[in-house]
Symmetry: C2
Subunit: 194 residues, 2 copies
């Protein structure tokens, strides 16, 4: 019973299903059929809309990055002053929307994907670049010349916490995770002041 205007709905469902399945299985070895099934359609239809599995993966990645970006932007809008902005970025990185089992699992796999698929690598670079520049804007007034290295370190901590979370079992604790990064930030700023 073909209704018209299905494309965006189907695509959205597939993207969501892709993330869930990758998270569930814990690897990129998910079949298009699995994804399509979870999204409530045939694998042929999935191919019809995305053309290839790789396209699906990329769409899923874009979705996650968009979501994350929105979260950061939202938090930044409310923050006053450099330190508040830095805190906002960190907190947003571990907020309930992004720091979820499936999403964290997906991240890890996207990292792997980026090793092989240039398009995926580009996406990740965009994310890293934005994070970096956001951090730098906050850090320059506070850490001066050391801004660069602190930003680098902070980026690494955030990624590292994600990485470790993927291996843990049980629901992620955004609060605790954020504290690790916040703690890093604080100590770096204090040292600067002494």
């Amino acid at each position: 019973m073909p209704k018209v205007g299905m494309e965006p709905i189907r695509k959205a469902a597939l993207v969501k299903a892709t993330i869930v399945e990758i998270g569930r299985v814990g690897s990129l070895d998910v079949t298009v059929s699995q994804i399509a099934k979870r999204a409530g359609m045939s694998s042929a239809l999935a191919h019809h809309y995305f053309g290839s599995k790789e396209e699906m993966f990329l769409a899923a990645m874009r979705h996650i990055l968009t979501l994350y970006g929105a979260e950061v932007r939202g938090a930044l809008a409310l923050a006053q002053g450099p330190e508040a902005r830095l805190r906002a970025i960190i907190t947003a990185s571990f907020s309930a929307g992004s720091f979820r089992r499936e999403v964290v699992g997906a991240w890890l796999n996207f990292w792997v994907l980026a090793q092989t698929v240039p398009q995926a690598r580009r996406l990740l670079r965009v994310y890293q670049g934005r994070l970096r520049s956001n951090l730098l804007t906050g850090l320059r007034p506070l850490a001066g010349a050391r801004a660069e290295e602190v930003a680098e370190g902070l980026g690494a901590v955030i990624d590292g916490v994600y990485l470790r979370e993927a291996l843990k079992s049980g629901a992620p604790e955004g609060k605790i995770a954020a504290d690790v990064a916040l703690n890093y930030l604080e100590s770096q700023l204090k040292v600067r002041l002494t």
Copy 2:
């Protein structure tokens, strides 16, 4: 021309080849034939010695972890006092033996493997546990009650730096990478003292 006593030689060659191939391809989607070819034998022989591809992966992982463990132990043996020990651990983590393109690439993929294969997960847990306890021994005299959180943070930084290195191109710079972690350590210790 069957020479006797080949088993350990063949196995070692396969383990090495497994790491190289995983690093080269950038994913676990390497075929047994690829690995065997690089190791200079038929795929049948690889199966003969390891039984399954998964066994090969696990052996490769064990090899990397062993190598890393040896490097840390060696560095620790020479270190005097808590802070020196901490520095030794960090430096060893980014030493030339472990912090190499293929090895770093393999690490990332082993993380993914650990999501699916319980045995791999166990291996990674052992590594994480050892790292943690090593760090704690050094940290307790220096950071007291804060030892736990600093250890957690340091672990995350180290993993994060590895993760990011896997995405970069060009040869890894162990020195620079180590500095990120050392920097973290220093600032945490200084803060504690104020």
